[in-house]
């Protein structure tokens, strides 16, 4: 009869040379423990998928030091247990390792990976925060746009139409007419100033489109109040997205939301180059922040495999460049085959699969698979770790 230590299939076990983190994806319970040589050797065995999360525990129950604490925690907190085994056959647990059944092979398979397409139709995009640094005074030619629309997979989760003012796009009516008959969700994203044009019948956008308005910090003054006051489209559900650079602006948005009964708002931090402290105080994560959230097995897998902010998303700018991430080089032009562009991102891209374990100092952090995927903020702030976690030595 031998004793075997096993971990449950919903428990993750990450370690470096000094600490081990046990994470129960059912309850969100976690424990960080010290490692010594004996425990380190056991952890390596648990890491080996061939052991199926179950390893022989010699000398049990006469254990000492860190190994003893580790086993006690596992039993007490329900991370796993001890099984008595006879002969060669030991219990098997399916360790939490992700598998994908259908990886793309053909060009059409790659097109199916697209879940969000953002098309900026015109202008220099200065009102569109995500494209702020690009200076373009252009409009996408209709023939190219039509070709692109023809390549959109029917399973698309979101099409976003935007631009400096997409309502002024030369073929706006033709575009809306075509999109009206499509089954995927569609959003028209406008800078708040475009609101006044929507009353004109030629710019009418029917209810098959969601409407979103973006309000940058500099427009949080009285002007926005006037616009909200005269809410022309009071019968339409509109999402207001406010970008803020400070706590004062956050409070201002809260007052606005209450005053004008805005029930669908999103408040997003906006880096202006001078408000790092605001980010450190309000955006940066601490170890406690991560421990207080309950991440499912799927969410952890997602963090391990792909970038949850960028995966499946393409952005087309008015000059026709197509990006997997507008902070990086374009993948190609709007006339290119969509499947080929996506394949390029799969094979050699740096966005859709940009995970924390590929970055410094995150790659060595015990919490890297709990932490959200890298986002635009990391690019804007010029650092990979938006956190206050002190990193253990690897």
């Amino acid at each position: 009869m031998v004793n075997c230590l096993y971990l449950n299939p919903f428990v993750f076990c990450w370690h470096n040379s000094e600490k081990v983190l046990l994470y129960d994806s059912v309850t969100g319970t976690s424990d960080k423990l010290d490692i010594d040589e004996e425990l380190s050797s056991l952890l390596k065995k648990l890491d080996n998928i061939n052991n199926m999360y179950c390893v022989q525990l010699e000398n049990y129950p006469n254990l000492y030091s860190n190994l003893k604490i580790f086993v006690e925690q596992i039993r007490e907190k329900g991370y796993g247990g001890i099984a008595e085994c006879e002969g060669d056959i030991k219990p098997v647990v399916l360790p939490p390792r992700p598998a994908i059944l259908r990886k793309p092979v053909k060009t059409t398979d790659y097109i199916e990976q697209l879940n969000t397409l953002i098309i900026s139709l015109n202008g220099n995009n200065s009102l569109f925060p995500h494209i702020g640094s690009h200076s373009i005074i252009n409009e996408i030619p209709w023939t190219n746009l039509e070709k692109l629309l023809n390549m959109i997979p029917s399973g698309l989760k979101q099409l976003v139409i935007t631009g400096d003012n997409p309502l002024f796009y030369t073929e706006w009516e033709k575009l809306i007419k075509i999109l009206k008959n499509t089954t995927f969700p569609k959003t028209v994203l406008l800078a708040y100033g475009a609101l006044e044009y929507l009353v004109e019948s030629k710019y009418e956008i029917d209810s098959s489109f969601e409407l979103e308005f973006e309000i940058l910090p500099q427009f949080l003054g009285s002007n926005i109040e006037n616009i909200l006051q005269n809410r022309i489209l009071s019968d339409r559900k509109i999402k207001h997205v406010f970008y803020i650079t400070s706590e004062a602006e956050y409070e201002a948005v809260e007052i606005l939301a209450e005053k004008f009964a805005l029930d669908n708002i999103d408040i997003r931090p906006w880096y202006n180059g001078n408000n790092l402290q605001f980010f450190e105080d309000n955006v940066f994560l601490s170890e406690e922040d991560l421990k207080n959230q309950n991440f499912s097995r799927r969410e952890i897998f997602a963090h391990q495999i792909l970038n949850t902010n960028f995966f499946g998303k393409l952005t087309v700018l008015p000059d026709g460049n197509v990006y997997a991430n507008i902070n990086m080089k374009p993948l190609g032009k709007i006339g290119d085959n969509l499947g080929e562009l996506i394949k390029k991102e799969f094979v050699s891209g740096e966005s859709w699969f940009k995970t924390r374990d590929k970055l410094e100092p995150c790659g060595k952090c015990l919490f890297r698979h709990l932490c959200p995927s890298p986002s635009d903020y990391e690019y804007q702030l010029g650092r990979h770790n938006l956190c206050n976690i002190v990193h253990e030595k690897s």
């Binding site: 299939p9 219990p91 399916l94 089954t183 097995r297 495999i305």
Partner: protein, 451 residues
């Protein structure tokens, strides 16, 4: 090491085996329940559809199957139109009307045009029979007619499902128009001996002579456009079929079982003799666990397997529809030689959903959805008592009899069967843990690009 204990998976249930959920200290069932709730272990039932879903399916229709004719130049012993089955149509020579097909295509084009410019799709038209080549004129007329349709609305591809007897007469046209061929052949001469002319003479020599000719005259076409299907019965077996096709044509056929639906009770013994000798193994009822069954279980129950990358981003699993019944027109639209519309050729004798007449196409998407939902409601009680509904392979349309309130599913898995099943799965995994490790390695998501 057997499963320790489990409860019904459907009614607030859970299972616990030493492998699947681990040994929860103190058998803390609350924790297991929490795990199940948090991880959507069991599918969200989605058994109601509506008319717009039917319309969407028509807009995205990828396959139209036409029963070109009920007539056939062979009289195969196991033919679904033959005397083994209730609806014996051996001597019926009914042919489908070209005008009705054109009417149907025009009706669908109207849907496709309304869909707008996204996305351009291709639809395959499959010519079935009887033997479709006995009505070659119709095939030719349909292929030519589709050439008049704007390819930006829809592109067409074609397939013919033939016994191969008449291929020498029409092969030039088939090659010229890139028409896919699927030839029914059950293996070598003895393997194929149920496939005979009405006078009892075997069709093997004529069919293989035609295939050899195509292989020699049109090698590129033969390699890329010709497929084979074989039916398993008591005169062949998978290995002999494989050897025959591999050696003679360098290809492998798709292998199907005899259809066991709607059998003629007078011919049951005869059917059983032909069928049971080579029935595909169903380990749940009669065999042992193997890699394939274990992997299926891992895919369905481990929570580690995702269909594609985008599924990692979704908060909930995709809804699972009750039974394995196709969504209306989700896979195909079938038009019978009598101009009746059905979801597929297997069930059309029992369940049609519309028809084409000289006045046009008669389809009511809302009524189709309502009828479908009513059938689902009839199945619900049966499915709720099944322990493996996620792995269902049953089409409900084959089960629901007119007037019956509760159909009986021959594939319903009982508690006892499920106990045996899970025990076998975990016993197998304990002895062969490499089944899991190899599967995970093979489907490693970090290697995003195959090859």
């Amino acid at each position: 090491m057997d499963i320790m204990f489990y409860f019904n998976t459907r009614n607030n249930g859970y299972i616990e085996s030493i492998g699947l959920w681990g040994c929860i200290p103190g058998n803390d069932v609350t924790k297991i329940k929490q795990h199940i709730n948090n991880n959507n272990v069991f599918p969200t039932w989605n058994y109601c559809i509506n008319g717009s879903l039917v319309i969407k399916a028509l807009q995205e229709l990828s396959l139209i199957t036409l029963e070109v004719t009920k007539g056939c130049n062979l009289k195969c012993k196991y033919c679904i139109h033959g005397d083994l089955y209730k609806c014996n149509e051996t001597f019926v020579q009914k042919q489908l009307s070209t005008e009705h097909i054109i009417s149907l295509i025009d009706y669908l084009v109207d849907y496709w045009e309304k869909q707008g410019s996204t996305p351009i799709k291709s639809t395959n038209i499959g010519f079935h029979g009887g033997e479709p080549l006995v009505n070659f004129k119709l095939i030719q007329d349909v292929v030519e007619y589709t050439k008049s349709i704007d390819p930006s609305v829809r592109k067409f591809t074609f397939s013919i499902f033939t016994n191969g007897v008449l291929l020498d007469k029409y092969i030039d046209y088939l090659v010229d128009n890139n028409i896919h061929l699927s030839v029914s052949l059950d293996g070598n001469k003895y393997n194929n001996s149920y496939r005979v002319y009405p006078n009892g003479i075997a069709s093997f020599d004529r069919v293989t002579q035609n295939l050899d000719m195509i292989k020699e005259k049109y090698p590129v076409y033969f390699n890329s456009m010709v497929k084979f299907t074989s039916v398993l019965h008591d005169r062949n077996n998978p290995e002999e079929i494989r050897i025959f096709f591999q050696n003679r044509y360098g290809k492998l056929p798709s292998v199907n079982e005899l259809e066991s639906f709607d059998l003629n009770e007078d011919k049951l013994e005869e059917f059983k003799k032909m069928f049971s000798a080579n029935k595909k193994e169903n380990f749940l009822l009669m065999g042992e666990a193997d890699d394939k069954a274990v992997i299926r279980h891992i895919i369905n129950r481990s929570n580690n397997v995702f269909d594609n990358y985008n599924d990692l981003l979704h908060k909930s699993k995709k809804p699972v529809y009750l039974t394995q019944t196709c969504q209306p027109f989700g896979k195909k639209l079938f038009l019978s030689a009598n101009s009746e519309i059905a979801f597929c050729q297997t069930i059309y004798k029992k369940h049609t959903v519309g028809y084409v007449s000289d006045t046009g196409v008669h389809l009511d998407p809302k009524k189709i959805a309502d009828d479908y939902n009513n059938l689902v409601k009839k199945m619900l009680a049966e499915c709720q008592e099944c322990y493996m509904p996620e792995e269902c392979s049953q089409c409900m349309l084959k089960l629901v009899e007119e007037g019956s309130d509760r159909p009986v599913c021959p594939k319903r898995v009982t508690k006892e069967m499920y106990t045996e099943y899970v025990s076998k799965i975990w016993n197998y995994l304990e002895a062969h843990p490499e089944t899991y490790t190899h599967f995970i390695e093979e489907h490693n998501p970090k290697q995003a690009v195959n090859g």
